[in-house]
Every structure is written in C-alpha cells, then in structure tokens.
Symmetry: C2
Subunit: 201 residues, 2 copies
DNA sequence: CGGTATTGCGCAATGG
DNA sequence: CCCATTGCGCAATACC
C-alpha cells in the first residue's frame, strides 16, 4: 500500500510520462534545533540532526516544549499534483534548498557528466531510481530491525540488572547481618578474656 | 519534502475534483487479533504484530530469518498507474483484504449511508481527510517523541543499574573479606582458649 | 462510532 | 558510489 511518491525534493519528473501529472511537492520542515540532550553514555537517540529544512509551514517546537502542531499545510496550493492519491502535504522545496545552479530539468543533459551541484537529476521513472529506492528500502528495514532488537536487548538487560541488583542487595543484607553477629561474639569474648587481647582493631 | 501520496491502498480518488484526482474509499479494518506479547514489564517494543497483509509482492520474511529482500515490485504492472512520480512498490490490495461486499467503487452510493464495511469513501482532497491526516501526523510525532524518550530513559536506567551493580559487587567483596577475617580471628581464639567455647554456631 | 496512539512502510536527506 | 540512520507523512490498526 503505501507508496509515497510525490515527494520529489531533488528528483524531478519528466514531462510526458503519464497522463496527469503535475508536480509535486515537498515539504520542508525546518527542524530548527532539535533537542540535544546529551546524557550519560550511549546516547543512541541522536535525533538532533535530522534534515535541514522540511515542512513548509514550519514545525514550530515552540519554546522548548513540544508543540506537535505546526508543520501545517504545505505552502503551495497542494493537492492537484499527481495522479490519484494523496494530496500530500509536502512539496518540492528542493529548488530552494539546492545550491544555485542545481535546478535543471532532466530533459536532455548527458546522463553522466551533468552539472556539479545537481546530483544528476534522476527520473523517478528510471530503473536506476527504482533500484536505488529498493536498495534503500531494504537497508531501512534492516536498520529498523536492528534498532528494534537493540531496544529489546536494552530492556531485557535493564530487567536482568534490576533482578541481579535485588539479589546483591539481599546477599549484602545477609553478609552485614553475619558480620554484625561475629562482631558481637568477638566483643563478648573480648570482655570475657581481656588477657588474650590482640591488636586486632 | 516528502509527501507520499500515491499510495492508495484504501483511498481512491474522485474523478472530478482537481485535475487529476480520484476518489477514495474505504477501509475496513479487520482487527485480526492483535498481539499481546506480554513480557516482563515494559515490553514497549512490540513489533511482532504489524499489519495483516501489506505489500503486494509479499513481504516474505523467509523462514524466521531476515530477508530484507522481497517485498519486490508491486504485483501489478506498476508504474503506469498514477501520474508522475514513483512507480511505487506497493499497491492497493485492499480489495483482496476487505470483507466480501466491501469492494465497491465510489461511483454513486449515497455518501452518508454506505455499506457497512466501507467507511464512507473519503476523498483525499476533502478537508476532512486533510484534517484527519494532520491530526494523525501530530499524533505520530508525539508518539515517536515519547518512544524516543522512553528508549533513552531505559538506556539511562540500564547504565545506572550497571553502575550500582558494580558498587554493590565491590561492597560485597569488602564485606566478605571482613567476614573472612573475623572468622579467622575467632577460629584462632577458639583454638587458643578451648575453655571458653560457646555454641556460637 | 469517534477520536488518539502505535506501528510498519517507503521516501528523501544525510552521515559514514 | 554504497549502505546505515533518521525524520517525516501515510495508512492500518490498536486502544479508548
């Protein structure tokens, strides 16, 4: 089901491929700062970097607190873009984000030696594009699986540590008690036979 | 940037709203079982359940091991379906998944009292649809933020527990040593003054 | 029945 | 170039 396609930030489309097209859109969402939160070791989260400018409306993480609201509608008129589904919400802002000189339609340039900045203008219909996407999708699934496993392991580790902690705490209690007892015994003997006093401290 | 739109699993477009649109449709939501997975506490992960049949090619998690490969191209001829972008990879299989009687084109039925299964035929262009999407997007961001925080907390907890564990282990070592010493002392005294033996055991 | 919360997914940007 | 990560929106579903 889901095929998201109309997001074409860098990729542009060819003008005559299918019946209804249009354009697309994108969505810039700025991602201003992010949180940062550096704490302890690990720090796996690492979310702070993200992309650099998405969501057109603007993702306003008001102040420092969450405000999942913004992002709002795409600046553009939206909707009318592609063929059937989705009106999307994002649009192509790539031209604004790309370095100057990057905006070129994929019409005719030689496929190999294009301009420097523009990656190369990849057509969404190209086999190459699909291959890239497919490979990335695979990588994404793999990466997420890994992340899920990692999280699960961390949770299990926490549980085990907690259990072990309790065991240790209990054992400590026993040892302490035993020590107490022995000390008592020693003290008692000491008072009974002061003659045998050793500098045992 | 990203607007994913061409994924129209359930939603279709109306034939005359915008230049290229269609209509939409429905979604049955079977709710098969759900999962349950009860494990220790937390257990936030919960991945195992997922949806019930997505990706047309078939998501084959071969055997039990990962095989991020499959999913493959959509069963259909693909590409040609929508307008421009993406050839997608997923397609609408909803009709196969819907309960019998659910497959109806959004052609003419009354908008309010449709069949039971079909929610109501929601247009992707409708304001209502956009509102729903926007609300869901907010919920998604919120949920992910929460998940991130949760994961972070779990990691920190694990680290703290590990540290505490080490402290406890060390303290235990000291106590054990001390006990050992006391026991030695006692034994020595015992052998030195057998007359003072008490049933200390 | 209506909503929000979760989750898997693909996309695109970006980091190695 | 590649793959790995990550934020994002979408849709299906779970949960109230």
């Amino acid at each position: 089901m889901a095929d998201s396609s109309e997001r074409s930030p860098v990729i542009q489309e060819w003008p005559g491929s299918y019946p209804g097209q249009g354009l697309n859109s994108t969505d810039p969402s700025m991602h201003v700062s992010a949180s940062s939160m550096a704490q302890m070791e690990m720090m796996l989260g690492c979310q702070a970097q993200g992309s650099v400018l998405r969501g057109c409306g603007g993702e306003e993480r008001v102040g420092g607190q969450l405000a999942y609201l913004s992002y709002m509608q795409p600046c553009t008129g939206n909707a009318a873009s592609s063929d059937q589904h989705h009106i999307s919400t994002q649009q192509d802002f790539s031209s604004f984000l790309l370095p100057p000189g990057a905006c070129r339609l994929p019409s005719g340039g030689p496929p190999g030696a294009c301009l420097p900045v523009t990656k190369r203008t990849i057509s969404k219909n190209s086999v190459e594009y699909r291959l890239r996407r497919e490979r990335n999708n695979i990588a994404v699934r793999k990466s997420r699986d890994k992340a899920r496993r990692r999280i699960l392991l961390t949770q299990q580790r926490a549980v085990q540590l907690q259990e072990e902690n309790q065991r240790l705490q209990m054992r400590m209690g026993q040892l302490t008690q035993e020590l107490e007892t022995l000390r008592h015994v020693l003290a008692q003997r000491h008072s009974m036979q002061p003659d045998a006093g050793e500098p045992r401290c």
